[in-house]
């Protein structure tokens, strides 16, 4: 399908552009055609594709797990319940391993993070042209099917977690305790500006690294899928080679998808554990 585009560069750009809805420079509302128009819309625009896929996948996760929760029996579990229990026990053991305080929020939060990120990453395994092709048939200028390749999505999650980290830091240690943790270590107290700078950077780095790690991994994976998909525009030898490559990358990507979801969940738990812990 790369042949529909003027150049492979344009093909790549097209695939990396979200379906953005917002106010055009001329005052009308509508979808942005291209990156420049999307940028011109400013902050008050929304990536419809990211939101739609993210919400849809989130509801899929909640629907499946809610169904299992409703039918949860203490007897021999059936297929779906078995699967759900397996994931829940996996998340629960991760939380027990990394989180040493009492907080009923953390485990459900970790489960939501893990399953949601996993499902959003999973969209990467759809061949890159299928859904955008369907979208272009129905008149949408762009469609990016993997929500976790949109930094808005990953930052939306990591900043929400960061707010929780700040909230529990202040709640557990008090505002003074939290400040002293930032200002009075690792160096002696009289060097508190240096401490504050170091610890402040460390604190800010948490949500940024959390979001960028996921975004970077998924963006790069998506990019490689797009590059492989370019081969389908060449002769049939190149196409067969591309198909093999795509298959191999997809298999490898299954690992990355799961791993990134797991890392995001584990770091969420660890950051919240650090927020609860008293430093001395």
């Amino acid at each position: 399908m790369a042949t529909e585009y003027a150049s492979s560069g344009e093909y790549i750009k097209h695939h990396l552009q979200n379906l953005t809805y917002g106010q055009h420079v001329d005052g009308t509302w509508g979808f942005a055609h291209g990156a420049a128009e999307a940028k011109a819309m400013g902050f008050w625009a929304i990536n419809v594709d990211s939101m739609a896929f993210a919400i849809g996948l989130g509801f899929l996760f909640l629907f499946l797990f809610r169904m299992a929760a409703k039918k949860a029996t203490t007897g021999v579990p059936s297929g779906l319940q078995n699967f759900v229990e397996w994931i829940i026990e996996f998340v629960d053991s991760s939380v027990r391993g990394s989180f040493s305080h009492q907080n009923p929020l953390v485990a459900p939060l970790a489960l939501t993070v893990f399953m949601w990120v996993f499902l959003m990453n999973l969209m990467d395994l759809f061949p890159v042209d299928w859904l955008p092709f369907v979208a272009s048939m129905s008149g949408l200028p762009h469609l990016k099917v993997v929500p976790s390749t949109d930094p808005n999505v990953t930052f939306g999650m990591s900043l929400s977690i960061f707010v929780l980290v700040l909230f529990y830091s202040v709640k557990m240690k008090g505002a003074g305790g939290f400040f002293s943790e930032l200002a009075f270590q690792p160096f002696p107290k009289f060097l508190f500006p240096v401490n504050l700078l170091l610890e402040g950077v460390g604190l800010i780095a948490k949500p940024i690294s959390l979001a960028l790690r996921l975004f970077g991994n998924m963006y790069a994976g998506e990019m490689i899928f797009i590059l492989i998909a370019l081969m389908f525009g060449g002769n049939w030898v190149l196409a067969v080679f591309g198909g093999t490559l795509q298959w191999a990358w997809a298999v490898f990507h299954i690992l990355i998808i799961t791993l990134q979801a797991f890392i995001f969940m584990t770091l969420t738990i660890v950051y919240l554990d650090m927020a609860h812990a008293e430093h001395h």
């Binding site: 953005t20 909640l62 949860a72 939306g156 929400s160």
Partner: protein
């Protein structure tokens, strides 16, 4: 990277999903898991207890069996002893009865002998008197010699 209101939308969605998960997904499944864990633990404990009870019952049954055997042996021994005793008693009783009957028979015989001897003596005396009468009829008057004859009769 182009940041826009998706950031806010995603945050709100995230918070809603976490809330829903915390409220309606996690607790029922966790409670089912906990309950099952407890049930399995209880079942294992009950199985252990049952096994223990079975062992105790088997031991008790063995004890009972041994007691019963001992009792039976005792009963048999007693019965044998009693039987021997009864036989002994019967023997003694039979012997006594025999002796008694023998004594009675002997007494009877002695009595009969005496009676026969008495009657024989009277007959002999009678015969002697008769013989003497026949001899003396000719020369002795029975009346004159009556005292003699009575004396003779007494001596016999």
């Amino acid at each position: 990277m182009n940041f826009n209101a998706t950031l806010i939308g995603q945050s709100i969605t995230f918070i809603f999903f976490v809330w829903f998960c915390m409220k309606f997904v996690w607790p029922p499944i966790m409670s089912a898991l906990e309950t099952r864990k407890k049930q399995i633990a209880d079942g294992l404990t009950a199985a252990d207890r049952g096994k223990h009870e079975l062992e105790l019952a088997a031991k008790k049954a063995g004890d009972n069996m041994r007691d019963a055997k001992a009792q039976a042996a005792e009963v048999i021994a007693q019965a044998e002893k009693r039987a021997a005793q009864i036989i002994e008693e019967a023997k003694t009783a039979a012997k006594e009865e025999g002796d008694r009957q023998l004594a009675a028979a002997q007494a009877n015989i002695a009595q009969e002998t005496n009676r026969a001897r008495e009657s024989l003596r009277e007959q002999v005396a009678g015969l002697a008197v008769a013989g003497a009468e026949k001899i003396l009829r000719r020369e002795v008057n029975a009346q004159t010699h009556a005292d003699l004859l009575g004396q003779l009769k007494a001596e016999l």
